[in-house]
Symmetry: C2
Subunit: 315 residues, 2 copies
């Protein structure tokens, strides 16, 4: 028996086609994602601002999160304040709800938690304006995705983040795609402050768009957040404290010694290479695919992230 | 600090609204999913045919999969033949690729596997016609979802399975939503036979639609398949055999003694209660939501499954 599923996978990952669905076998197969990225130009990659880059250390490894201050500046500032106080150190992943979110914060804030043990927010604010949407601004980078969307009039990418726009309301917002990090809150729209965060680990719950502030995106380490046992308590909260994954520390990359700063870059979503990746997903031709989808959904592609050699600190 | 994220979750799960987005606070909150299901009628639920119900026993618990012979009858028949031979007993989950699929089958079929240890397919066929799509048939149940779709001209549900249609081609097919089970294959379109299966554990990879046979849907036990450590080998294959999750057994429900048959029912997707669940997701009004999405994506809702008291076997 052939290794059908390994071949299946190779084809899935590499079957990137520029040609039409009716392409003949004489056409060369579409270049792979790795091939397209290898041909990219250095200027097509951006290095996240280290003031926007969170380094969350778990016992299992490192998670990198890029904040999105263009969309949620007050939340980014509050999260930076919390992180500089080492607020998250020793807290935990408290909830993993299947096909929904993984969430971390203060276990004492759980309904059954010991409120006397709640960690102080220190200099951080306890409430914030919602920042669920922001006004359209031509100065903000925007790469339209013309393939359509079920939930929003227009969708695309802004500085690597999936986003939506509504010309009628004059607003834009980040969308709840896989790997996007949101700000938990109570019922009141100003009750979120960034001390409890969640990340999408399943089908994009787009109904949350415009109802919660999105703080940013996981650039590295998603498997450490998505591959956890699901909580068996109500709504995926862990029923037993021992099931929680402890958070060793969260730091801003800018607070780390230069040699310890994560060396990552994100492909610009307004680059030719990202456009080629989109086309390659729309129009596949290789030995595996029978038909091409012709489309890419907003949450079906992510801006690629790569490691690069550490560079001298710029500040 | 309030348990903001617990409340956040309650609202997410229960914020089901029939009223408009501009509804005032005087409106009662939308009934919850649990409330809507509690009001459902017994005739709105169907009991899967035990010849279509696979019971996969893992060390961590039970996974139930409903086959979809209306869409892939030859694959269903071949999988039944494999299961009756106890083909899967002692095989393993060999691959967990983040935001993509969990896959199980014969570890010896891996590229590095010992081909001399490949398990025989016995009376099962080694190749099958593709069954990636099927002709439209008015006799097949169909509940249209009018909310739109990025990938297909028409989408909806057929007997609880998410599906798409193209009137131009006269074809319909099941779609790669979260929890759908597909048939791994090699490059040749007839090389799938059901001995290697995968389940979607992330954002729906709709580009696979019409390129692979879909065998059915996981009705119970998704967390046992999705909450596994991601494989660190290429494409999510486990690099070390010890990382694989062994499969204790797979049986047809019809082959189990009546008292051991899983007692599950699936809400009919052509029922009034399912329509109410869809509307409640489109139009939410409660203390948490600021705006309603107005739409439901095909892969953003699943036909509910419930346990019911065991009933006497009918055959």
């Amino acid at each position: 028996m052939p290794a059908r599923c390994r071949h299946f996978t190779v084809a899935l990952l590499t079957g990137l086609l520029i040609g039409p669905m009716s392409a003949t076998a004489s056409q060369p197969p579409t270049p792979t994602r790795a091939q397209l990225l290898a041909k990219s130009s250095p200027v097509e990659w951006r290095t996240p601002n280290p003031d926007n880059l969170l380094v969350m250390q778990l016992p299992t490894g490192r998670v990198l999160i890029e904040l999105a201050p263009d969309f949620s500046p007050l939340h980014a500032a509050n999260i930076r304040t919390l992180v500089r106080q080492h607020y998250f150190d020793g807290l935990a992943i408290v909830r993993v709800q299947d096909n929904f979110v993984t969430q971390w914060g203060d276990p004492a804030s759980d309904d059954h938690g010991d409120k006397s043990k709640l960690r102080s927010l220190g200099k951080a604010r306890s409430t914030l304006p919602p920042e669920y949407t922001r006004p359209l601004d031509p100065k903000l980078a925007w790469t339209a995705l013309p393939d359509g969307d079920v939930y929003a009039p227009e969708v695309g990418f802004s500085e690597g983040f999936p986003a939506a726009r509504d010309p009628a309301s004059g607003q834009e917002w980040l969308t709840h795609c896989y790997g996007m990090v949101g700000v938990g809150r109570d019922n009141g729209p100003e009750t979120g402050n960034g001390s409890e965060l969640y990340v999408v680990i399943g089908q994009a719950p787009r109904r949350l768009d415009r109802n919660l502030a999105i703080a940013g995106r996981v650039l590295e380490g998603m498997p450490l957040l998505s591959g956890l046992p699901r909580g068996e308590g109500p709504m995926g909260f862990y029923a037993k404290p021992a099931e929680r994954t402890p958070i060793e520390s969260v730091r801003l990359a800018s607070a780390l010694p230069p040699a310890q700063r994560p060396a990552v870059q994100v492909l610009r979503t307004d680059s030719a290479t990202f456009a080629a990746l989109l086309d390659a997903q729309r129009h596949r031709h290789d030995a595996f695919y029978q038909v091409s989808s012709g489309k890419v959904g907003l949450c079906s592609i992510e801006a690629p992230v790569r490691e690069h050699a550490p560079t001298p600190a710029k500040h």
